[in-house]
Subunit: 115 residues, 2 copies
DNA sequence: TGACTATATCTGTATTGGCGTATATAGTCG
DNA sequence: CGACTATATACGCCAATACAGATATAGTCA
């Protein structure tokens, strides 16, 4: 079960909120998609994902070379609702909209074979 | 209008979450009530309240010697819902329950005259 | 095996942010 | 005015954390 402090720690950084906002909408995305969408160096994205993976906010699945992250399915209901509201609150912001746009227009997105 | 970063910054510290959780339930409380409930030194509580006041998460009313804080009434709907869900998520935790208990049992609570 | 791709981790640095303590401000009341 | 109460702020210190850049790991495919 996730720790409350860890959950709010995930929300305390804008980069992490950008990652979460994408994942709330898209159910699962791989690291290279997230890097491309946020237009940030891969180690930076990877470190933030690691923080959230280690605290149980995100879960991970490997498929070949790609590693897919998603919102952890065992979060308590209130935590889901907060993520959802955060997504709504951020949807109006230019940065978050640009992230969505870049993701949508990303060339050669990896194809899930056996989601 | 509140800044999204500032809003999540308010949630990023446990002391601030304890303050917010009390205020979500009680509509307004003065600094000495909050100090007593959290059992923390006054400057520490005051500094955390100042952070949230300056970013527009809390608003303030003076009544004589006492200063009453409350959740700001102009937060966007999604922010309210997050505060509400945070309150529910934390309600199960011992620290937050103890805060409520101390507040309820506090002797000589100041009396609002003209709320 | 070796080249290549995707992702993770390490290392050193700079910044942020919380803390305790001391002190300042502001209002009340004699 | 001076004593008192409630609250706010300033200061110096320390720990946490984000960062860039370099490097390691792990899987794939020739």
């Amino acid at each position: 079960m996730i720790n409350t402090n860890d959950f709010f720690d995930a929300l305390s950084d804008e980069t992490r909120r950008r990652l979460l906002a994408l994942l709330v909408g898209d159910d699962e995305l791989c690291v290279c998609e997230l890097c491309y969408a946020l237009d940030l160096p891969q180690p930076k994205v990877s470190r933030h994902l690691a923080v959230m993976r280690e605290s149980g906010v995100l879960s991970v699945r490997r498929e070949g070379l790609w590693i897919y992250y998603r919102i952890h399915s065992l979060l308590p209901a209130w935590a889901y609702r907060i993520l959802d509201q955060m997504g709504q609150g951020c949807a109006a912001l230019a940065i978050f909209q640009a992230d969505r746009k870049r993701l949508k227009e990303m060339p050669n997105r990896p194809v899930r074979c056996c989601a």
